[in-house]
């Protein structure tokens, strides 16, 4: 399906890398305009590189550069850093959060929004980010709502929300995806993840070649 304008709302730099970067590269290849609203700079992350090359003080700036590099690798045209504090999304004033997301929806009028599935995305920031997006989109009249695709990966998620209904074959975009993953140097030991002896194309395709999403269904 051809998407015109896509809004991605995720809380941490690197949330896009494994589950979404191939899909975004594919949509961009097909002509889509992508805005990625990243709620925080991941400044409370515990990974500092091995051996550590970041500190608590330098981490936000380093992760910001890593995110910019990832976006460039994917081809994302518009990155918005919303400036919320890492780990605190669930405690934020919901009005503040929803207003920011609502402004983006109004400004961009996307045909597709991508976020985390609230309740099934493990990290409280992921769940709270997804919940804010679902709440805000839900306030729009049903006929004006963009499609919302959710990422989910909690241990019990398939029992509760079933199998993903959207599957994208992103094998043609693995170069962009691997470059996105490798951009986040402080967070992922890419050598470890991708294999010191370079994974074969076949192994890469098996591991990273498909991306899965759940379309969020609003009760009618």
């Amino acid at each position: 399906m051809m998407e015109q304008r896509i809004l991605v709302v995720l809380p941490h730099p690197d949330d896009e890398a494994f589950g979404l970067s191939g899909t975004l590269a594919m949509h961009i290849h097909n002509g889509a305009q992508v805005t990625y609203a990243c709620l925080t700079l991941g400044e409370m992350g515990r990974n500092m590189g091995i051996p550590p090359f970041a500190t608590r003080v330098t981490l936000p700036a380093i992760r910001k550069m890593e995110l910019e590099s990832s976006c460039q690798a994917i081809g994302i045209q518009d990155l918005r850093l919303l400036g919320f504090h890492d780990k605190m999304i669930e405690f934020e004033d919901q009005n503040v959060l929803d207003t920011r997301i609502g402004e983006l929806l109004k400004e961009l009028n996307p045909s597709l929004v991508v976020t985390f599935y609230p309740g099934y995305s493990v990290h409280p920031d992921h769940d709270a980010c997804g919940a804010a997006v679902i709440r805000t989109v839900g306030k729009l009249p049903a006929s004006e709502r963009p499609v919302v695709h959710c990422l989910a990966f909690s241990r019990d998620h398939e029992q509760a929300i079933g199998k993903p209904d959207v599957h994208y074959d992103v094998r043609a975009f693995l170069k962009q995806k691997v470059a996105s993953i490798e951009s986040h140097r402080s967070q992922f030991q890419a050598a470890e993840l991708l294999g010191k002896n370079e994974l074969s194309q076949q192994e890469l395709e098996a591991r990273f070649g498909t991306e899965r999403f759940w379309t969020y269904r609003y009760p009618s």
Partner: protein
């Protein structure tokens, strides 16, 4: 101490906002953590009677609970909270105890120093 009732704790968080408070925040693995299990890395820190003021705060989770308090220039955050002092009406006394009852984490707020 009683098991946390989130609604009661949220009421106290709301009551204490927008005023000068003293905070005690603490986290510890216990000094014997590495003695019991050499793979563990003992670590702890605490801060007593620092003065703060927050404009917004919430308790979250399904137990153990998390608390976040938003200040002008940052946040107070605590995870792993299980118990609260239900007799307190002017102070918030929260703690997290492990399966053996030992204190792992504490977060306390009061208009007067502890």
């Amino acid at each position: 101490m009683q098991l946390i009732q989130p609604i009661k704790v949220q009421q106290l968080i709301d009551k204490l906002k927008d005023q000068e408070l003293y905070v005690h925040i603490e986290q510890t693995t216990g000094a014997y953590a590495a003695h019991m299990d050499s793979s563990k890395h003992p670590a702890s820190s605490f801060l007593t009677n620092a003065r703060i003021r927050y404009s917004h705060g919430a308790i979250s989770g399904n137990g153990p609970y998390r608390v976040g308090l938003k200040m002008t220039h940052g946040w107070v955050y605590s995870e792993g909270l299980t118990h609260y002092e239900d007799m307190e009406t002017e102070r918030l006394i929260l703690a997290g105890h492990d399966s053996q009852g030992k204190l792992i984490v504490a977060l306390q707020l009061s208009p007067k120093p502890f």
